[in-house]
Symmetry: C2
Subunit: 342 residues, 2 copies
DNA sequence: CTGTTAGCGCGTTCAC
DNA sequence: GTGAACGCGCTAACAG
């Protein structure tokens, strides 16, 4: 009579169980539960009661099979451990979670083989779309496998301009940093950056240089490239003070570099922000709010980036794919390292 | 003839397409592709060729519908933004990704309503199991909805002892910290902790106190509870030096507190580790490797915790559910803040 | 308004 | 060795 129960308790109720209990046919039960018309309100009620009693939960697999759409998307990160992936994930998950789509999380760990493996699995699961999250803003190769569903690249753009990519506006971020310092009355601004092999570093330099020029200012020394670390920040700041004691502001490659710069400045008796203003990038809270003084930083708006990618994917699923790279503005978060009075 | 193509190019190939192209029946194609016996090797080859030519990818929805198992699991985080969730996710994703199961990521954002919403969606998608990742090690209420599949709680145990939970061994972590310092020859050890409302803080204190007693040592001052911040670390360290100048080691509530302690010690002319050894918890790399000197810290092995949760869920899906709370050992990562010669 | 039928794509009996 | 038939759970056509 009843089909074999699973290893754990009673088999989960199916629509046919609900129908039986309510004394109607399956299709009527389906219509009732899905709010279609042409069903007597009394019948509808009976069906709902039966469903509640049986704790009925519609089988999305069956529904997806029929509809041809699974209501799922894949979130493929190249490197979850990187600190930039997470906020993007959160934003995307948020944008989707509000609706009816669920998100598959896949971490390729920087391995192309694993990436293909994951893509295959996602295709097999019939995801309706795919977001590929990079771990740096440098362009990345497009997915190796042909995928029949829309793909949106987030953070790291695809090398193929025909693909749709959404990235933070690092040029604008550099510009934003300088404009803020200029607005604060700074005129002798140095730039201690991070690893020159990252396009993020170079792009911000481009924006910063543009803004300096527009303000009619000369940079203090050359851009100092190094690594994205506190120790580089400390070392570079020491050299800077030595060679350019007149400096009154430092733009730093990221918040870690900025932390190092802050430390060295303090140890050299320079007060921040009175003597020297300091500004970082990334707005990584654990770094920016723990420092003395708290650190002004340019926030790349990653959560919003994730949301934007999700929305773009939504659109692509419904309509036509956008093409090319879209940049999203960053956001300046002002703290005490540039302005004392807030 | 061919059914209507989707909005994007040709309809994805189905098993029946493959069969047709290979000139066999669907069932033969199925057997061939799934490596069942009783199929001529030549036929098998033809089927594989057809599948490759059509880029055939089996529909997991259909397969799952038939098998009664979807090959998916839900990863439900209470707060993705917390820095502890991510490594656990990574570990779990890793353990699953190796096999054939895909992972649904859901972030409840600390909201019970949203949590229920997600659980409903996961149930509807017929996940084979569920991992609930907490954002602190304090016990959390069990899932509000009855779920027919196994659930494993990770990091934050369920309040219900009948549930299966896996958490880091914070008592052992506290013990580990003291034992290391004692082994380094320290005898006047103080403890600057974090927020006393967290069981993690209290548990580590328990372990530390036990280990101190066993070593025949008295703690230096009371445990100083405050917040998990650098500024608390700075403030508490200043008080400590003032009241107990004889201190030769400080166990800190986490790496942020430890960073603050390091700063204050340096500014008071104490050398680390020569004069005072400092040790943190969490082993958050951006903090531990950026400091001067680099910070010894107890790593909670979160990635391993995630993997363990995944394996436990695997077992629970196949066999019987384990019950109760299992603790996983932490791991000491020795850097220069406790030992100069490495 | 309600019930019957068909089929989404696949794996698994069972005959042949 | 191969193929026809059935059903997983559900929704969308129809027919009554």
């Amino acid at each position: 009579m009843t089909r074999p129960t699973g290893s754990r308790g009673a088999r989960t109720a199916t629509l046919s169980d609900v129908a039986k209990l309510a004394g109607v046919s399956v299709s009527t039960a389906s219509k009732a539960l899905n709010g279609r018309n042409h069903v007597h309100s009394q019948t509808r009620e009976r069906v709902f009661e039966a469903a509640a009693q049986l704790q009925f939960s519609p089988n999305s697999l069956a529904r997806g099979l029929l509809a041809g759409r699974s209501g799922t998307v894949g979130l493929l990160t190249t490197d979850l451990s990187g600190r930039f992936s997470l906020p993007i994930l959160m934003g995307a998950e948020d944008a989707f979670g509000a609706g009816q789509v669920s998100v598959f999380l896949c971490d390729a760990r920087g391995d192309a083989i694993r990436e293909r493996h994951h893509v295959q699995a996602l295709v097999s699961r019939r995801v309706d779309g795919l977001i590929v999250v990079g771990s740096s803003t440098d362009p990345r190769p497009k997915l190796a496998d042909r995928v029949d569903v829309p793909v949106v690249y987030a953070y790291a753009p695809s090398e193929d301009p025909e693909d749709q990519s959404i990235v933070p506006d690092n040029v604008g971020a550099g510009r934003m940093a300088i404009e803020h310092l200029v607005a604060c009355g700074r005129t002798r601004i140095a730039h201690i950056s991070g690893d020159r092999h990252y396009s993020a570093a170079r792009d911000r330099d481009v924006g910063a240089t543009e803004a300096l020029t527009e303000a009619g200012l000369e940079p203090v020394g050359e851009v100092a490239y190094g690594s994205w670390t506190e120790s580089w920040g400390r070392a570079a700041a020491a050299m800077l003070i030595d060679r350019h004691p007149e400096v009154d502001a430092v733009v730093c490659g990221n918040d870690q570099v900025a932390r190092g710069v802050l430390d060295t400045l303090r140890e050299h008796g320079r007060t921040v922000p009175e003597d020297v203003a300091v500004l970082g990038f990334d707005n990584w809270e654990v770094l920016t709010t723990g420092s003395r003084p708290q650190l002004t930083s340019v926030d790349p708006n990653l959560e919003e980036l994730g949301r934007a990618a999700a929305r773009a994917l939504f659109d692509a699923i419904d309509d036509e794919h956008d093409r090319g790279v879209r940049t999203l503005p960053c956001r300046l978060v002002i703290r005490e390292s540039t302005v004392r009075d807030r």
